[in-house]
Amino acid sequence: MTENRLAGERRDIPAASNIESLSDLKGQGYNVLVDMTCVDYLAQGRTPRFDVIYRLMKLDAATGMDSGRIEAHCAVGPEAVLRTAKDLWPAADWLEREVWDMFGVSFVDRPGIKRLLLYEEFEGHPLRKDYPISRRQPLIGPRSGDKADSPSFNLHKPSITGQ
């Protein structure tokens, strides 16, 4: 099959009015938020640097057939703050947390955004292209502030790649 039916038609929506555009699309029948992700165009030197992508699907609950998918691309810079899509689709809650965790694109109008997969003390946003795979993180001890008491916690092993 040359055509991937799941790819979806691309739309570009402005960051400042992302919720209005998404609401519009939901009104046109795109009732399911399939996925939300982000792409970092640092290597291509593009400004704005990120593309937050909302993947929507039109699903007819009565027949169980989907009649179209859309990718809504929202170009934002690293310090940008987007409004949350949680009220349109509750699924957006964790998806936005993952985008924040991995890329550092923040969302507002929602209770304080937390990381989803990594721990709060993690420094940086790892899926950004300027985060090297071999970067080490500071050692963190117990939350109480006590030092980790085993000597093996303080061994800093050299990275395999030598970076």
């Binding site: 938020l33 996925d35 169980g64 699924a91 989803l116 997969l117 990594l118 795979i133």
Partner: protein, 275 residues
Amino acid sequence: MTATKGPSRKTYMLNMGPAHPSMHGVVRLILELQAETIVDVDCEIGYLHRAFEKHAESETWNNVVPWTDRLNYVSPLINNVGYAMAVETLAGIEVPERGQYIRVIASEISRATDHLTCVGATAMELGAFTVFLYMIKAREYLYQLIDGLTGARVTTSFTRVGGVKGDLPADFAEKFRGAAKLVREAVSESDRLLTRNRIFMDRTEGTGIFSKEDALAYGITGPFLRSTGVAYDLRRASVRRLRSARFRGSRGNDRRQLRPLPLPHGRDRAKSAPG
């Protein structure tokens, strides 16, 4: 002095996880309990995050396939296919027809192993250890089949961008029919043990009810979505040729609907459970 009547409304917090003997996998659940009923739960995930996407950034296109084995490790072939399809879409590569069929067959076998594991584990959690063993026995037939096809039971790494690693072995069709028959027998036995079993019904019927609207709002797909009554099947949706195929699905909107169904096959329909 008045005596207070009725159950206490006080709740207490209980931390479950990330490692817990009674659940599978690592996830942290911070439970708010009222006696033995869970009234709220805060779910903390990330313990299985292994940075596959980040690693994939420094791999060659085909070298990412072993990473995908380990995403959903109960149905690795499907992950292999999914990744390969994504790259092929981006690059505009068309897979030869035989390769597409092999991928579908491999994915279906993998899907069966996944469901066998899931339903078996569910039964085990409810105390039906025998069913778990029957399902694992059934799964084993399929693993032998996958072993012959890909060279490994679980870490299959079967697809490549543009096709699959290799053609079907010469005796595959015969082996598959043999395995499918044994799997259906095991599933059929488990069906007889569970589906109309009073204890199983009491433990599952009417629990975990989710509405269609909620399921769609949360972006749920797969058997979970079908159990709420939306007959959405990604296989039908994504492959034009299968648009009119009818897959056996389930109706109703509770957890009991997520019970085993025999692999679709005309001959066995008379022997298999309704719905």
